[in-house]
Point group: C2
Chain length 396, copies 2
């Protein structure tokens, strides 16, 4: 039999927690706070059904054919307008479509990371980003995340210690996994430090439009005067994930190279899905749709936080996010959340994501990420109360 000699870059890449949890989320029996699934009851089924029918019948010869790697111009024009609304001025050669924000993480890594280059990440940070950076062999540098975003003092030290840093990866709004939002002061300080050290910032922004409390803050890209920020956006959370449509905004020189790498990676996005979303936005007001999402997610978040308040021992802490899909629970250090989840699954069929996967370097075992967008209200109540009941055993 053939003996496989895999490339060095995949050594140590193991089946990930995300993968198993995405699978768990598909089991209708499990109360899953695991994945970052939007609420499927909010998908605009009738509208999308009509849109697909029209697109295929009226322009199917183009919509089912190959297209350009950068993506449908009419859709990119709409994204340019949406970006302008949040203060990001960009032109057609500065924006392109990608297969969800995840592909942006991969292509930016492929474009910039040489083996051994430092990548600075918030700690904790999005597991999917760590997975996409890793095959390119970076040195992960962790900077603690505080209640108002990345620690600027630690960031400054990390930049001094790592002159080979390529970029700083951040999710400034309603961060995955913590729900934390970076303050305006920190956004400015981050940009200033990036400029001093000539590093880039990769701003991952899939949740930005799902703010249901607090003041809107400028995106980091909108504050950038030096072409230093690469901004990722996505339709996954504001429309639906099953179309795999996201976008990247960056200086034209960077977009040109990302486009060549995308051509080599998968040719282009689904032409049909781009035509359909473009027509959806022509026919309907996507902002009204987003308003409905925000109302629902705020209600679910409030319900979850209220149940955590009443069900959890006082020593258990959790974030109260102003938007997005996640809260982050911190238990006393003696609580191992992998072990706890085995108990919540066995006793109540309740799942979340144990926090250990989200740490770029030094792992902590007493946290978990908990999603409130996917489950219906009664399961949020039941599930949180079950976790609270089971964790009480650790306090006896």
């Amino acid at each position: 039999m053939a003996k496989y000699q895999f490339a060095k870059r995949v050594e140590g890449i193991q089946p990930s927690a995300i993968k198993e949890l995405l699978a768990l989320g598909a089991d209708p029996e499990v109360i899953s706070f695991g994945g970052g699934y939007p609420d499927p009851d909010l998908f605009p089924l009738d509208k999308l059904s009509g849109v697909y029918q029209e697109v295929i019948l009226e322009e199917g010869k183009q919509a089912l054919q190959y297209s350009t790697t950068e993506g449908l111009p009419a859709l990119r024009e709409k994204i340019i307008k949406r970006m302008a609304h949040i203060g990001i001025e960009c032109t057609m050669d500065e924006v392109m479509m990608i297969s969800g924000g995840q592909q942006g993480l991969d292509l930016v890594s492929k474009l910039f990371i040489n083996e051994g280059d430092a990548i600075i990440c918030e700690s904790p940070t999005f597991l999917g980003a760590l997975l996409s950076f890793k095959p390119y062999g970076p040195k992960f540098v962790s900077v603690p995340l505080e209640a108002d975003g990345i620690s600027i003092d630690h960031l400054e030290a990390a930049l001094k210690e790592n002159p080979n840093t390529k970029f700083i990866y951040t999710i400034p709004e309603f961060q995955n996994p913590t729900g934390v939002t970076m303050s305006l002061e920190k956004r400015k300080a981050l940009l200033s430090l990036a400029s001093q050290h000539n590093v880039l910032i990769l701003e991952d922004s899939p949740y930005r439009e799902l703010r249901y409390e607090g003041d809107v803050l400028p995106s980091i890209k909108s504050l950038d005067t030096e072409g230093r920020v690469i901004h990722l956006g996505s339709f996954s959370k504001i429309l639906c994930p099953g179309l795999r449509l996201g976008w990247v905004v960056a200086p034209a020189e960077v977009i040109g190279k990302i486009s060549m790498l995308k051509l080599a990676s998968d040719t282009q996005n689904s032409t049909l899905n781009m035509h359909a979303v473009n027509r959806f936005m022509d026919k309907y007001d996507i902002d009204s749709h987003i308003e409905v999402l925000k109302q629902t997610y705020k209600r679910k978040k409030d319900l979850m936080v209220e149940n955590m308040r009443t069900s959890f021992p006082d020593a258990v802490q959790y974030t109260n996010p102003e938007g997005g899909l996640f809260s982050w629970i911190t238990f006393p250090e003696r609580v191992d959340t992998v072990k706890l989840m085995r108990e919540t699954l066995a006793e109540a069929k309740v799942a979340y994501v144990p926090g250990l996967s989200f740490f770029p370097t030094k792992v902590e075992n007493n946290h978990c990420r908990i999603n409130y967008s996917y489950m219906p209200d009664e399961k949020i109540e039941f599930g949180i109360q079950a976790i609270g009941r089971i964790v009480q055993n650790y306090f006896k």
Copy 2:
């Protein structure tokens, strides 16, 4: 302003001919024999329109949501059955969905190629494959392509000279760009050599089902008893490319790792497109659809070959493929096909792909790839006659 320090792997990656030609193909004024576009008049618009409508209304909550990285099980089961029909026995953990065959080329490269590893390619070969291999830093080794497939003598020599070969890349049926099909004898010899030298074979098979003449030959994967062949298939040419749906068949150990790399690269394929193709295949006989494609493409191919026969000087050679989408024209060495195409574009708005892009190493300038699936009959006649008329100037 920021100064960009790109990774070493993208040095020397330039905007490709394919990219510009895909753009040209979108210009309705140009008679384009350039891209590998299927005939859009053959897209089953009514059927697909109904299928999308049903899928979204009846199972939209699943079909628009995240799913698993390996892809929709019901669709993979259908692919397993189709593979069995061509002698490839595989199970659910040996097949997964990818974003078109192109993503298979990227993920297999990412999984296997260390910098400096040798990759053996037919010369000429598919430009998109060269583009996807290149960022991983391989040494390209060219083996001449003959009328019945790869030169076995040269392959044996190449394997001896390059003990660090990771895989042999081949398109055994109606090769891109030449239209050449590998004989059964050579398939067996190729497998035997791969086994002797413990290298893998990457069998790229997007055109296999578009055979309209000659005898069906077993796929290389169907002859493989050692888990040595990775097989790529695609819906792009048998249904439509705008859905970005392909598949990879490989031993479970390899699929497991490709799946982890796909998760990191783009999470998963479009759930909606997978549901739609699955339902299309439930409701309709895709083989009847393929029969219609084959009849049309045979007619177009015959028309093109007949026009090349009557319009081209005798010293110009061209292949007469038994299937697929392409013929390969070889002019006398003094004809530079880049220069010739400038003339055919200026004088008659006729485009093709100059052959130089398809050579992994030593470039030849007197060939071109010519596609006959995309253009309507009258444009095939006009375009080929125009090329014939213009190239006559080289023979005066």
